[in-house]
């Protein structure tokens, strides 16, 4: 079950990087730079990135605890 969360977390991280790239394109457009739009998109990307990293970390920590508990019950 924790693997699903981890995969979802990595998917969120990937989405956030794509959104980050889109935001950077907004800002670096030399003909018509969109600074305000870029800042909004970057803010959203940071939110998605945080959520993804939280999911990955929680699932990793939960799996470590589970492995330890299974080892204790077997021993």
């Amino acid at each position: 079950m924790f693997w699903i969360r981890e995969v979802m977390g990595w998917a969120l991280v990937a989405i956030s990087l794509i959104v980050l790239r889109v935001g950077m394109n907004f800002a670096m457009n030399t003909t018509e730079p969109k600074i305000v739009e870029a800042s909004v998109v970057l803010f959203a990307a940071m939110g998605v990135l945080r959520a993804g990293i939280l999911l990955i970390r929680i699932s990793t920590a939960a799996r470590i605890c589970r492995i330890d508990r299974e080892g204790e019950s077997k021993g």
């Binding site: 790239r21 030399t30 470590i64």
Partner: protein, 279 residues
Amino acid sequence: MSRPLSDMTPDLREPKNLPADRVYERPGESLHLGLVLQVSVFVVVAAMLMLLAPEAPWSIRLLIIALVMLTLKRWGGVLVLMLVQGDLVLREGRDMAILNGSGGVLFVLVVMAVLMFVARQRELLQQIARSSLLQVVREFLNSSEAPAESPKEFSIPAARIFSSVLRGITLLFGCVVIARVVIGMLPTNREVTAGLRDFIDVDPSLMAGAMLIVCLFAVWIAVSEVSWRQMTTAQARMYLRSAFLKLHYADLRMIVRKRLKVRQQRLAAAKAKSRKEGN
């Protein structure tokens, strides 16, 4: 011979007849001074913000001013600085005539003075903002009628006040003069900006910087997650407890953090007191 541990650690016990709220109470004289300072800062900040965004409707300007006032005690001058920067960016090339010449220098001086004051008097602003408005007004009226309880405790030598004010003014003028010199040295005309944009168009490798930053983020996340997997079981359990508390019991976390903060403040005050007594 080493001192016993009880001598080295400050005594944090409060006398039983002293209520806990008494820690934050300030005598009338200090509150009086604080109120005058706070009102003057608020008036200056409000007047300054009125100069910003002249095209915006009054309702939005008043809303922004209220927002800045409410966040002044917690965030300090951060919001004021951000608003001034935003106003400068939006004004660029259009309404800069107001800020040219001596008017601009005066505006910069006022902004810097407000930011300096807010940054230096955070503690005083926070202490005044803790009490309600009615309580502050009552204390203000009482302090003007009755003499303060302990005037000796807050009597500051005039020479010290004068030197502090002089130091602040010198610092302020020094910063403004240096900023003017740096701005005078930097190229500010629009041709340079246009030239830079043309250069970026001619040399597309500079555009790859965006891709490089995204790749850097990706590598950084991957490396930090790989190192995250090296934690022990005890660390994993602690992280899970912490995340659970943060997500599901935010109120409990807030209470614990508040208590820890109060305890740290008391410890620092007791340490300072014991140091003073030792001297």
